[in-house]
């Protein structure tokens, strides 16, 4: 196919960067899709500004997409790019600091005009002034060549130049031996009704590929073999999609129609978008007037026997907190998905963070406990959505599912499960009176299952079980309003006991040598970076153990025992130490937190460093 040299690599990190309007997310998505089909393991990190399309050519307007792919199992999107594609000076400037010396830069010379350079404070052209000497720079007229290639289509300059991202995609595809067939098919269906745009884009991809193949500037292409993976059918999936599919699956597995009440908010909106496509599964999506109405409608639907779900991010959770308290009192199933983002307040809406744990635990008046689960990776969102539903339905309780911006938009390959093996969830609706006295049979809405402490769920339409529930304290059993002090104390403790008693799997420790003295603990999206950090530390000769909490309330029963097993516990969190606080209070162990609140996931290298440092001290 090509006469050029082909070198073999085990892993590559590529970052596409350009203006918000340059289509970098799409380019990254397509490259990812081809890479996934090829069979590499991979992990992605999109990064975009809070503005829709901040002024062209400015630093705040830069949007990027990073992809890490390898011939072996990997855990993070990579600390530092091997290749940066910079569509303009702003993209170069914003990303250069992350590049290790020796990295490759592919820059679109057409955009390095003196005006554009000045806009971001370059006094001379870095592509020419020698300041990039320690990098491999390919200064390529991506725009010009794209326009040239598209001349036959009679598009305006502006339209034609829009396809430059596809040209770049073609070029990179050539460099790393990716096929472009899937992209061609994708473009055919995406622009099915706009023939000129479709053909232009397809031509651009091909032109990019051919450019790589022919030009002398690119002397070498690279090959990264597929990663050995267990047999199965795979797809690449983002956290938001996996979470949505998990919800659809939960609806099917519980035979409960799903009702999603939501109000758009970054980075959760895509779950609403995805769910709204699945009406044929009986999924009803309701874009409410605000977050309070979103959760309220979901709760109303739950009262009616739906699987009520609400999706949001931190500020939305704050608004929903009073209603979540009502759900705690009503003891009805409800799933609250919090895709965490940077805060406080509006904060950094498009960035990631995991600082809503304590809000989920305590962000309501009075004692109002709820279970909390948190997926560890994008694909894990599927399973944890099912778990959230299992707990919510089985225990008649609101459940928090804590995702975050990194999981939401990041992606990884996912071994698609066999739907026949998915667990079933039994709603176990009440159908009969449950309290019998000499002369009557009554329905008592707060007569609990002695095992789970769950109350019966009798839905409207069930004759003979008419009953009233509400937010005032209720008498144990009958559920009638009760101001009795002893009953109140009992009910407060019982609600707590119910949540404490939720059945969650034991915590697993990965301690291959069995002689580790340091345990590195994590929760949520830090799983990848911690795992990668631990691997590095082990490669450097350290025996360290790793454990990851996916159930945060209640904690797995063996958590204390495991924590006590190690001399030191290190807990990296993208907050100021929220889980650490809960564990310290619970187990009185001096857990060492490693905290960063930068809106970005941890880097494997920095975690490796801190892990080794801690281990060295033991």
């Amino acid at each position: 196919m090509t006469a050029k040299e082909v070198r073999e690599l085990d892993r590559v990190v590529i970052r596409f960067a350009g203006d918000s309007g340059d289509g970098m997310q799409l380019t990254g998505d397509r490259f990812t899709a081809e890479t996934a089909s090829f069979g590499n393991d991979l992990s992605t990190l999109p990064n975009f500004p809070a503005e829709i399309r901040a002024p062209a050519g400015t630093l705040p307007g830069v949007s990027s997409f990073q992809l890490h792919f390898a011939d072996h199992d990997i855990l993070t999107p990579g600390d530092a790019p091997d290749v940066l594609v910079a569509m303009n000076p702003a993209a170069l400037k914003a990303n250069l600091a992350d590049l290790p010396k020796g990295a490759t830069i592919i820059a679109d010379t057409a955009e390095f005009t003196s005006r554009a350079l000045k806009k971001v404070g370059y006094t001379s052209n870095p592509l020419e002034d020698g300041s990039l000497a320690s990098y491999k720079v390919h200064a390529v007229d991506l725009t010009g060549m794209t326009m040239k290639a598209l001349e036959p289509f009679g598009l305006s300059r502006k339209e034609a130049s829009r396809s430059k991202n596809m040209f770049a995609l073609g070029l990179l595809s050539w460099m790393y031996g990716r096929s472009i067939d899937g992209t061609v098919t994708f473009l055919q269906s995406k622009f099915a009704t706009k023939a000129a745009i479709r053909d232009a884009n397809i031509s651009a991809v091909k032109a990019g590929w051919n450019y790589g193949e022919t030009t002398e500037d690119f002397a070498v292409s690279y090959q990264i073999k597929p990663a050995p993976t267990p047999p199965g059918t795979y797809r690449n999936i983002t956290g938001n999609t996996a979470l949505s599919y998990g919800l659809v699956a939960a609806s099917r597995q519980s035979s409960l129609p799903l009702f999603l009440g939501s109000y758009p908010i970054t980075p959760a909106s895509d779950i609403l978008h995805e769910m709204s496509k699945h009406k044929k599964f009986g999924v009803r999506t309701f874009q409410a007037e605000d977050e309070i109405a979103g959760v309220g409608a979901a709760l109303g639907a739950s009262f009616g026997g739906s699987l009520g779900v609400t999706t949001t991010s931190g500020p939305g959770v704050a608004l929903k907190s009073e209603t979540v308290g009502l759900a705690v009192a009503l003891e009805l199933p409800l799933i609250i998905v919090d895709v965490q983002r940077g805060g406080p307040s509006t904060g950094l809406p498009t960035k990631t963070e995991q600082a809503d744990l304590l809000q989920a635990m305590f962000g309501r008046n009075s004692e109002a406990p709820t279970p909390i689960v948190a997926p560890a990776s994008p694909a894990d969102c599927f399973e944890m959505a099912l778990e959230a539903a299992r707990i919510a339905v089985t225990y008649r309780t609101p459940v928090f599912l804590l995702s975050d911006g990194y999981l939401a938009n990041g992606s990884e390959p996912w071994a698609i499960p066999d739907v026949e093996t998915l667990p079933t969830i039994d709603p176990g609706f009440a159908t009969e009176p449950n309290h019998h006295s000499d002369d009557s049979a009554e329905f008592w809405p707060y007569l609990r299952d002695p095992q789970t402490l769950a109350r019966p769920w009798a839905i409207p339409g069930t004759a003979g079980l008419e009953h009233r529930v509400g937010g005032l304290e209720k008498a144990d059993g009958t559920g009638n309003v009760s101001y009795d002090p002893t009953n109140h104390d009992y009910m407060v403790r019982t609600r707590q006991a119910k949540v404490d008693g939720v059945d969650v799997p034991d915590l697993e420790v990965d301690d291959p040598t069995g002689d580790a003295r340091l345990l590195v603990l994590g929760w949520g999206s830090t799983y990848g970076p911690i795992g990668a950090g631990v691997r590095r530390a082990r490669r450097a000769g350290h025996s360290v153990a790793q454990a990851h909490l996916r159930y945060l309330n209640p904690l797995p029963a063996n958590t204390g025992e495991i924590l006590h097993r190690y001399e030191r516990v290190l807990l990296p969190e993208m907050n100021l130490g929220q889980l650490a606080m809960l564990l310290r209070a619970r187990y009185l162990i001096d857990i060492i937190g490693y905290n960063q609140v930068r809106g970005l996931p941890f880097k494997a290298e920095e975690l490796a460093d801190i892990i080794m440092k801690e281990d060295d001290q033991l």
Binding site: K280, A293, V469
Partner: protein, 351 residues
Amino acid sequence: MTATELGMPGLDGVPTTDVAQTKKEFSSDQEVRWCPGCGDYAVLAAVQGFLPDLGLARENIVFISGIGCAARFPYYMNTYGLHSIHGRAPAIATGLAASRPDLSVWVVTGDGDALSIGGNHLMHALRRNVNMTILLFNNRIYGLTKGQYSPTSEQGKITKSTPMGSLDAPFNPISLALGAEATFVARTIDSDRAHLTSVLHAAAAHRGTSLVEIYQNCNIFNDGAFEILKNRDTREEVLIRLEHGEPVRFGANAEHGIRRNPNTAGLEVCGGDDPAVVVHDAQAPDPSRAFALSRLADPGTLARTPIGIFRQVERPTYGDLMNDQVDQAVATQGPGDLAGLLHGGDTWTVE
């Protein structure tokens, strides 16, 4: 017979029963805990008395309320019920009504619950036209929290929180609802059982959101607020009974009428025999005249207060449209296939 054939499209889809029902069957075993003399009792009695007439399966009726004195209502109904939190009943009811077309959904709310903290949910329910009936108990005061002024209190009202008088112009709930694209808007009075019942009947019959404002006396914190509309000596001079298709007249002998002022184009009082007396058309697609009628009432004195149905027009309901989309998706794409969904998009297989 379906409810639509019965002329009650609002109840279409709700199972009916052939067994005769009684008021007692609609009364729960819970002791009613309003103050003696509270207007809420009369409304409760009217609702409990009228519901059996609808012949619905009792288990398919749900009452949802917010917080306030009036909001205790569901506890006293032997149906399904949910006493929720302050202001949120319309939102909660939206989820229920949209997901369960086989239920008859009722919201009970107060002037504070509906128009203060819950104003936004009310307005959005109205524009969405969710199939439910909202009973707004307007006593022009916060009862449960012991007597602060409410968004319907007359300006200058002296209450615990406004010792020198309240400052805000009150809402006119009818105007507000009409401005919010409501399809059914009516007003009635706690003490007028016959009128109340007839309005409730029409509201239940309406498919979509029916808003019924009920003037309700709080004899503890705002006693006599509607006395002028109730007292035999005064009421005929101030109360305007709207009847669809009938000229708008009032007075003991219909000696007053309402006509459009040819110069200002506003509505005004005229003689009952004035040929220009307007004929009430609750079904007019344009809500403008209903709005003009709503402005007749003086917010302070309640002079010229119309009661009855201001507006009653048809528009598809949110729930019906939502269900149609689900049905249509199934019809055109086939029922959901989970394995197909999971395997959608680009996949690859490792042997």
